[in-house]
């Protein structure tokens, strides 16, 4: 139990630390890498919390996602190695206040709410995945389908927006 807490805490701290790094470096590529690490740490946290399927999925997805992000960053910023030292932030104080406040409120709500008794055990990885499958095929089917439609829409929207306009 404690071990689980330690693992989760460790990966969590890693995620947070890399999260901070995202906005501390002056290079976008480094930011992207930090985000990748942060998200991977989140994935590791999932594993620590016995959500194996989700953890693996998260790590895999983030890897691809960050790769794409890096490509676009290079494209937009022409900043492969963080050569530019310009400040890319504004209203820092207010944003800091908002961030701190947001985190504090969330923590406050988390700590002040009585969450009820904790469940001690979770099903094994295989059982989990099976049950998730059933959930997806039954109750959440429509949700899943909607997500599919959303993905389709996103593809169309992204292309529609990105592709150069021509007169016919």
């Amino acid at each position: 139990m404690l071990l689980q807490a330690l693992f989760a805490g460790f990966f969590g701290m890693a995620a947070v630390w890399f999260g901070v790094v995202v906005f501390r470096t002056s290079s976008m590529v480094r930011s992207a890498l930090a985000l990748l690490f942060s998200m991977t740490a989140v994935g590791a946290m999932f594993l620590a919390m016995e959500a194996e399927f989700l953890g693996v999925l998260q790590i895999m997805m983030m890897a691809t996602e960050m790769a794409i992000m890096a490509i676009f960053m290079v494209m937009y910023m022409m900043d492969p190695g963080g050569l530019g030292q310009m400040d890319m932030s504004h209203q820092k104080r207010a944003a800091q206040a908002a961030g701190v406040l947001g985190a504090l409120v969330a923590i406050g709500v988390a700590l002040l709410t009585s969450w009820g008794p904790a469940a001690n055990a979770a099903p094994g990885a295989a059982e989990q995945t099976r049950l998730l499958g059933i959930e997806l095929m039954e109750r959440s089917m429509l949700i899943f389908e909607t997500a599919g439609v959303t993905i389709l829409t996103a593809m169309i929207a992204a292309t529609a927006a990105a592709i150069e306009r021509r007169r016919r």
């Binding site: 109750r139 429509l142 959303t150 829409t153 929207a157 016919r168």
Partner: protein
Amino acid sequence: MNGMEMDMTRDLALLAPEIAVLLTAVGALILEMARLPRVALPFTVIGLLVATALTFPLLGTETMVFMGTFRIDSLSVWAKLALLPATALCTVLAYPEIKDTDREGTVYALFSFAAIGALALAGAGDLMFVVLGVLLSSLGSFALVAYPRDDRATEAAMKYFVFGSVTGAIMVFGLTYWFGATGSTLLSGLGSLEGALLAAAFGLVAVLVGLGYKAAVAPFHFWAPDAYDGAPVAVAAYLSIVPKVGAIFALVQVVRHLPDGTGWPLAVAALAVLSMTYGNLAALVQENVVRLLAYSSIAQSGYFLLGVAAFGRSDLAVPALVVFAAAYAAMNLGAFAVVALAGRHLRDFDGLGRSAPLAGAAMVIFLISLVGVPPLAGFVGKFLLFGAAIGAGFAWLAVAGILNSVLSLGVYLRIVVPMYRAPKEAPVSARSVAAVWGIALFATFAIGVAAQALLVWVL
């Protein structure tokens, strides 16, 4: 397993309109790819109308599908009846602007996809539908706004995207607490939030931010004027109607099960007053008619919230929301259609009443209907909303609404007054635009006069 099959068939039958819209969108895409863009518009319109027609059998149905994740009730059905024709008209309105550009069919498909998002919102029975609905309708909208791809359009789209993604993230984060507190993602499970008021409040604020953004409720509205301004008029009209009504109805679906102890009625009421007042005040000084209508639509969101705040305490709330949604769709669409005809700037309206008397008269009708002058649609809608608010014990809210109606009169008269000045040359009118405001005009009258029939259906 057999029973499950049967159940599934029934559920899918109940979702026939949504499926029809989906097929329409996909069909429009295929037509685009098949290099038949000219067929895309009629196809889309017919598809959407078929979907509308498929909705009629559902009138009066009160049920859930897919184990409570999606609701078929008066809200979701009327959302279809109001929003699908509105979407169809938006595509018609968009036609003159986008014909002969590439990817015409894509635009129609995006209109339809985003409409599915709005419908998902209107019938949401699960937190995830709220999230996905906002996402789906947003993604399509971003692309639509960016469609002209010039400086202004892309700026608008980028701001819209940033605003949407940040507020969306806030909403998702807040909603996780509801899951934690209730152990269910179903909205019908929210009743158990009674014991976790802080978590309930946190989630509620998150929902208000997320749906408030989608419905352009002040102070989560900032994207709206810029996005409307940068986008084509048809898209602005679309944004002001379809996602907004969807989001408002989704808010009703959410608060439907929320315990009163969370204080949601007051929070919604406060936002209503803020939105009405802010929208009208800011609209009062606009020179750009599209921006003016954007602010006015922010104000109209406030009126919608009147009905939301009254939900559960007044039997009038749902009829009021439905009638006002239909009325709002008609009159707002009509107003935007005339803008598409006349131009975006206030001075484009100089003498319009003389140079294009019919369109000018129609504009006057739309605007005074927005104010709430009988016997037009806007009057009936507002009347019911005020009634609902008073019935729910929010008399002060109704008073604020009425004061705001006065204020809005000042807003709309700014368009009307120059219309009857010295005439100038008549604007070139596209037949499709005329058809749009013509139909909207008919609907504005019809809803006003026959709101009664509408209500019989709703109740």
